[in-house]
Symmetry: C6
Subunit: 200 residues, 6 copies
């Protein structure tokens, strides 16, 4: 079984997130990590996987293009951070198939534009997804939360201490790899808990 | 009359689902199976056929393409699982015509993207369909159910024991053919019952 | 005046539907039949013509195409079933013009996809149409009826005996020409009565 | 000043509609008639011009095309019926400009498809228009009227005697030129009165 | 400072509108007039500029094209009427930039189609605009006003004497240049006052 | 750390906005300024960055094109004004990436058209944005504020003294560089405070 042997981080409620960051190369087998994420989501969570995608900007003259550079997947206990290669490699199919899974709901913040780009630029289709800000706006009757980023959305719904996340993100350019991974884990955990809260 | 001679599975309410999995080859006549599904749906059900489609990922450079690989059709008592060949064969027309039937309503979960792909990639049009999550969200006044996968949607509406399904899906990569067929039958049965419930 | 000299069928309320099925050939003059439908609809009905269209599936490699193969037109007393030729023939213009009539409202079930295909594939525009399921959903406050086929929609609104229709449709592949025509007449009559009911 | 020297017709409320039918030829000057319509609409009406457009079906293989063949313009006292030539002639610009007028609101029934075709096929844009069925549906709280043709819409709102119109339209193929003009005048007058009623 | 030295007109409430009509030639500097409009709108009004655009119809075979021929800009005290040349001239950039201003809201009636044509045919984007009929419909709860032209919309909201405008517009083809300018000024003034009323 | 060494301006509530205007050249490193904006927004604000973009009009025949010429970014204490070069330079990628940030919500007025142009003309995607006028319209129940420019929107929500802004904008063509920068700072500050108000 895949080992999430990256650093672990303690959240403000003392829960623990185990992380794994992978630079995907042609020979990397990511399927065990995806299976472990799936398993954790089925057994411990509510079949929700919080995800976020990151784009690299490439430019041609006055135009810029976007290429999927990283993917973050979070469950109750795990956070997987995948850095994608510049060229398509065959093992990425595992990721593409994972996104098409109907077993789980992929939960994201401000993902509308991402979903369009994923399909247009890479042909990736996320089958079962939830724009959680829109749902929160309806469920709570507060239209503004539809337009917030992950941190502010969580702040509105969970009202928990955000100082660690703020501290890392305010000095993002100077942050080290582990700090950035911690910020990713915190954001994933926050949205996971927002989703959990909205379910009740 | 077509014989559903695959394994049968007992559901949590002791009802019985008879299955049939077919690898479609050029010489396979699928029409008797489709006729039997239709007949079962007309006589025993409420003219609803629960369906799900599965896609294979093919890739060209940084882009991926999707090809319809399997179709699942479920009624009250039957579950038909069709694996499609890579190349179009003439007998698939029977399936395409079946999807265009106006006698029944095809019921699915998170099917919006599927319907687009079916039309764009294969020219298949499902005439009379129902995105059951959307309906459940309106009928129950709980917006979140629109965004759930089959299992969570059923969990919210039916509150029945899901441990067998969870057990199979959490170890999907290691599951055998019969276990996967059982999971397919359970999911079909769950959605069938959600639909039934929403009708009342 | 055109003679509807096909078989007549008795409905469950003892009303009588006179039918006519025509295989359109280049020399067939369909206009007298369309005129008679129009006249019946103006004098006896509420200017509603229930219609249904049927498609033939043609395939090219992994793609399929649809070609209009038949059209059903129903009024209070009449049911006209037109089988169209493979090639466009000049007399079909009468049908195309008939669909563009503004004297009447064309009433159908689950016709959204049909209307798109009629325009895209054949340039046919139905000027004044009504998707009756959507209307029924609004008028009755029961969202589910928007998604039902003709039989189930009628079942929800009219609650009349459907055994004859079920009997024919459950064994569709084995049904004879007259049985199929009777099923067509019954479905037309059912939707006509749903429309009538919703008007009150 | 343009002379509406076609037949005049008495409506069921004893009001009088003066008509003019014109076959437009390259030398025909239609602007005086349009000016008179405009003047009547400004002084006697509520700046509403009821319009209807008619299409000719032309076919190429399995596809059909539509070409604007006639236009009907109705005010409180006048009904102008213009038959257009097959080829574009310069004097049609007067009609195109008339449609773009912002002085008045053009009122029609089931015109959505017409507006698209007018723009796509002929580049004609009606600047200020009103789909009266949609408005009536909202104003009266009866969703069904959105989907009705002119006669049934008027029937629902005005409840006046329609026997003369029914008599002509039920035998449309056998109707003479004057009868058809009378039907056009009656339909125009009906919609004009529906609009008037909805204003109050 | 630009001089609005065209005729001035007295409105029904005794307010005074000073006008300027300009035939734009390659050497015409329109920017001082636009600056004066902007200044008037900032100091005396509520940052609203009422605008209207006029199109010339050009035809190719059965199709017609539209070319922006004139623009009307109205504030509380001023009405500027610009007639544009057939060919693009460099000084028109001042107008294009003016339309993109974010200092003010451009207010129009039935402008949806205009905005599309401005962008498609001339690449002009009005940044901050208001379709006042739609707003009035919502604000007053009277759906019909969304579909009215400028005069009728103003009539519904302001109920002031329209006889001068009616008198000019009913005989539009015979109206002289000054009468037409007066009608333009009156319409601009009416909409300006409708906007003012809706603000309160 | 980047130094905002442009002029500082006092707002009507005595708060102070420090500004920086940069003409971007190929060798300019804008990332420290963007980092400082981000940091200020994380620590002092509510993770909102108010932005505005400005376009240059270029024309080809009767058509005009738009090119992004400047960008304004405002936080609680800072206002950064970037003038972009005609040609794409590599350092602009920093700005493009900044716009794609998910840490913050980009807040703008009447930005719908801007967002489309940013994507179409330059491939720039703002990931997390808020059209504040729309939100204010919903939150306050006053539909008109959706359509207002920055100054009028702020006027409706904040009711503070606008005379300095009015004074500069009414004489815009004659305004000097510092006055224009002050107007930019005031507008940014106004919208920042509108957002702040709507949050409560």
């Amino acid at each position: 079984m895949a080992n999430f042997d990256g650093p672990g981080f303690s959240m403000v409620d003392k829960s623990w997130i185990q992380t794994k960051a992978i630079d995907i190369e042609p020979s990397t087998d990511i399927s065990p990590y995806l299976s472990r994420i799936l398993e954790d989501c089925v057994w411990n969570g509510n079949r929700a996987i919080v995800f976020d995608v990151y784009w690299d900007v490439e430019s041609v003259n006055t135009k810029s293009e976007r290429r999927l550079s990283s993917v973050k997947l979070s469950t109750k206990n795990l956070c997987l951070f995948l850095r994608l290669p510049n060229q398509f490699t065959d093992n990425l199919k595992d990721l593409y198939r994972f996104f098409a899974s109907k077993f789980v709901t992929f939960v994201g913040v401000q993902i509308e534009e991402d979903l369009v780009l994923l399909k247009e630029n890479h042909g990736i289709v996320i089958r079962s997804y939830l724009e959680i800000g829109k749902l929160a706006a309806v469920a709570r009757g507060t239209p503004i939360v539809e337009f917030l980023g992950a941190r502010e959305l969580a702040h509105k719904i969970l009202s928990c201490d955000m100082s660690r996340l703020d501290s890392i993100q305010s000095k993002w350019d100077e942050a080290g790899a582990d700090d950035r991974l911690e910020a990713a884990a915190i954001e994933g955990w926050l949205i996971y808990n927002v989703y959990d809260q909205l379910q009740q």
